[in-house]
Symmetry: C2
Subunit: 295 residues, 2 copies
């Protein structure tokens, strides 16, 4: 998957540049704080969201440099949410990506502030798109609006509230609402913000909206399937929480993911070859499924 | 102080409108979450930062409606910082504005998420300035950039890190650096963002930069003086932390605040009558001091 690997490098070096520019270079506590931020950001996960941003930019003949910056900003937001999700008052997780969670490696106060810094700095990065990448101020505003709306109290935070406070026995529509907000909205924003570095037609926008909504859900279903699998393998019962596997069972969850993957690929047919990276990313996401892709 | 009282009403109704628009209207946990946000925002403090935004807009013949929205966004950011500062891993304060702190009234998870929601929603509000108040996209980008930079890891968060981790015996320059970041930067941003709803000249910008920097420090010195006073009155020794009173003593702290007030008033003389609200706000801030204002 060379497309994704290339992107990881570009995103990582952009994130490194953001850190060097933002945190005041001082000895003492601020020097330590920049270590906390680095610890939380590197080594990263798959950088799947930035890859979506760049794939959507490619589909819309958009601005590649701007897509890298937007991808980095979204990765800052994604990592803020992980740091905070791991805190004792949330999921209380000690491990993240095979190493100590940020609040375990440092302390809760620094982890809280690191999350806040990453979230806020994402908007610094976004507000520099016109200066750094000649994106119009109008498009930049639209990009900021989509990302902030999808991350805030009508987006990801709403999903986190539901995840924290819902009964594990919620209905399927409630579970879908939760997943759309907790995970789907930021993935949707990753796609749409990438598109806006180009000049998508109304039809192209609609196609990407469908694609973004579908794969946001696929992402959460696959995550739930992974969690269920590793909990069986490691013989550690999962704590009771609302998940697709819990509500639909394994087979029906796979079936639902497979349908959504089919829908997402169908939606972006209009891009032809320019849509290839978008197709590649869905296939990567669904590569563990017995796929039944029509479309 | 009619100027400030009028502003409180306008800001409160704008904040109420933001809450109604942002949080998805659902029963269950999200209904409770909107109560958490309301609890944290109302009744508010003096709404001093929005008052600065509006006063700076007035000085620059700016857009009043936009200044109200910006003021509300800054108030969202300010209140996010208070909710998080009160958490056990930070200042561990049980009380805020004479009532239970948000995490005490609800729980830590909801308080954490409420802070995150307010911070993120601030950027939703700011990104709607062109649509709602005919502010140009270019000015909006500049406003977002100033506010995000002043709130993020090179601004307020840096100050919070220093406040959390510095020895109470830091030097005066280190204390000033801490105060400038923790408190001063967001106050500076409140002033500059208000100015940008108009078309300030370079000279006017410079004047407001001086004003904003000076009163940011005044604000922190007055806060430290207040804390010292109430700790003496209530006979509760203050926990050791770096403060102006601790480092300079009461009299020298007052003297420093008085000098900075003089400087700030001198800086904005060029606005003539249009600068009256800016003067009123500094005087309000310094009203507990034996003032020696020249300028």
């Amino acid at each position: 998957m060379s497309f994704v690997q290339d992107i990881q490098k570009e995103i990582d070096s952009t994130l490194e540049a953001v850190l060097q520019e933002q945190v005041p270079q001082r000895r003492g506590p601020l020097d330590k704080f920049s270590k906390v931020l680095r610890y939380a950001l590197f080594p990263g996960g798959k950088r799947f969201r930035p890859a979506l941003t760049m794939a959507a930019a490619k589909a819309c003949d958009g601005n590649k440099g701007a897509a890298v910056s937007i991808g980095a900003a979204i990765e800052l937001i994604h990592n803020y949410s992980l740091i905070h999700d791991d805190l004792p008052c949330m999921d209380d997780s000690c491990l993240r990506r095979g190493k100590q969670a940020t609040h375990k490696e440092f302390d809760e106060g620094l982890a809280l502030l690191a999350g806040n810094a990453l979230l806020t700095d994402a908007f610094v990065v976004l507000s520099e798109l016109p200066k750094r990448h000649s994106i119009s101020a109008e498009s930049t505003i639209e990009i900021i609006n989509i990302i902030a709306s999808c991350a805030g109290s009508s987006g990801m935070v709403a999903g986190q509230v539901l995840d924290l406070k819902s009964s594990p026995k919620i209905s399927f529509p409630e579970l879908e609402f939760l997943a759309i907000h907790k995970t789907g909205k930021l993935i949707y924003a990753s796609v749409m913000a990438g598109a806006l570095t180009g000049k998508p037609t109304q039809e192209e926008r609609k196609a990407l909206e469908k694609y973004g909504e579908a794969i946001g859900l696929v992402f959460q279903i696959m995550d739930d399937l992974d969690d269920a699998k590793s909990s069986v393998e490691q013989r550690t019962p999962e704590p009771p929480r609302a998940s697709f596997v819990q509500i639909l069972g394994v087979e029906e969850s796979k079936q639902r993911a497979s349908e959504l993957i089919g829908e997402s690929i169908k939606a972006i047919k209009i891009f032809g070859k320019r849509g290839a990276p978008l197709v590649e990313l869905v296939e990567l996401l669904g590569s563990k499924l017995p796929l039944n892709i029509q479309g």
